[in-house]
Each structure stands twice: as structure tokens, then as C-alpha cells.
Symmetry: C2
DNA sequence: CATTCATCTGAACACTTGTTCAAGTATTCC
DNA sequence: GGAATACTTGAACAAGTGTTCAGATGAATG
């Protein structure tokens, strides 16, 4: 006789339903991943008030323009930021309002 | 005479205020990072309905119990999950309601 | 008390990632 | 056109990450 009557089959079937498609999970993970690097996260935070050019972002972060440009490309690919050219400058701004919500909720998590 | 009257100094000062402390940024990045791995994200998704033991989680994900155990430790360290021992089994469950909100919002981002 | 079950752990490995450096494009100014 | 500015790109490198494997732990069972 078992002390604990734990039904593996039921639990497993139930959990499997919560998972959703592999494709969705990977896309979700990618979204979190793009915000998981301090440099990229700082870029997003810096852009919450107003659009900035690459030089400004690099200055704010204390990073090279090259490093910032590499990360901006990634952020653009995942639709977190969009760009606007004006003469020699390229201005970047946030492309999706949901991102700020994500950061706000994550903040409440870390402060418990 | 400049064609574009872009004030670097003002933009930089403004953006710097949005950044917050280095400590907070790193903690935020860590929170996103823990959800950025498909295996860990699946574990969290699997636990949204009910608590599960390590064997069940491994079965649902199609991963080894060892791999799952390693990731559970990380999830526990960052307070995403908590554990409850019952005989030989260790049952894991979500430790923070905010995580589900985080996933929900990220979902709206990827579906645009 | 030896065995089995459920989970954990550490080391090793292949793989990924972010930065740097140097060179490239594109635009403006003289 | 030539020089300067603003940004981008690709290759290379060091550092970090997730999995596997083998072995260890702890609790229940006979």
C-alpha cells in the first residue's frame, strides 16, 4: 500500500496541456532572452522617455557604438525597437508598449 | 549651421534618469534570463495548473530528471518555484503570481 | 540492513553569446 | 571630390550556459 496516492498520469496529462506549442514556447523564451542581457535591457530602459541616436545610447551606457549597434539590430529583429533616419543620425525608439509592462511586472517580482 | 538641432546633452541626461541603479538593472535582467531558456520556461508553464514532482516534469518535457533538477535549483534560487517534500517525492509549485502575468504579457507581444 | 526509488550534485563537454577590433557604408559639409 | 561624421558589419575571441554522465544522498520497503 502506498502512503501517498499520487497519480502521475493525471498530473502529466494536465501539465502537458499547459505547455502549448513548441513554437510558442520558443518565441516566448526569445522575448525574455532579448531582455536578459544588461546592455540590451539598459538600451530599452534608456528609450522609455524619448528616442535616442546610437551615439547617445552608447554614451549613456558607457559602451562602444559598435556594441550598441549590434544589440540594436537584435532588438529591431525582435520588434522591440524601431528606427528613424534623419541625415547622418539614426534615431531609435520603442516599438511595443507591452515591453514597458513586462519590465514593470518584473520589477515588482524582484522587490517581492 | 546644423540641419538638425539635436541636443545630445539633454537627451543623454534624460535617458540616464530612466536607467535606475546598476543593481536593479542586473536583477531585472536575471529575472528575464531565468525565463529565457525553453526548458525552464516549460517547467514554469507546466506548473501553472498544479504542483508536480521531478519525475512528472521530466516526463512532460521529455528531458532527463537530472537536467530538470539542475534547472529547478536555479528556479528555486530566483524564487520562481518552491518545493514541498513528501516521502520520497519532492513537489514543486510556482512561488510568485507575477510570473504568470509576465508570461501573459510576453504572449501578447509575440502575437502582436 | 540491504535494496529500491526519487532526487540531487559535480565535472566535463559542446554550444552559444557579447564584446572588440578593423574595415565598411552612407550622409553631410567645405 | 575629399574629409569628417554616424553608424553598420563580419570575424575572432573569451566567457558563459545547458546537458549528459556517473556517482552520491536520503527516504521507504521488504
Amino acid at each position: 500500500m502506498k502512503a501517498t496516492a499520487h497519480n502521475h498520469d493525471h498530473a502529466i496529462r494536465s501539465a502537458r496541456r499547459s505547455l502549448g506549442s513548441e513554437k510558442t514556447v520558443v518565441a516566448l523564451a526569445e522575448t525574455f532572452k532579448v531582455l536578459s542581457d544588461p546592455t540590451r535591457l539598459k538600451i530599452v530602459l534608456a528609450l522609455t522617455r524619448e528616442e535616442l541616436c546610437v551615439y547617445d545610447i552608447a554614451e549613456v551606457l558607457g559602451a562602444t557604438e559598435s556594441a550598441v549597434s549590434h544589440q540594436l539590430r537584435l532588438l529591431k529583429t525582435l520588434r522591440l525597437v524601431k528606427q528613424r533616419k534623419e541625415g547622418k543620425h539614426v534615431f531609435y525608439s520603442l516599438d511595443d508598449d507591452h515591453i514597458e509592462d513586462l519590465i514593470r511586472i518584473a520589477r515588482t517580482h524582484i522587490t517581492e
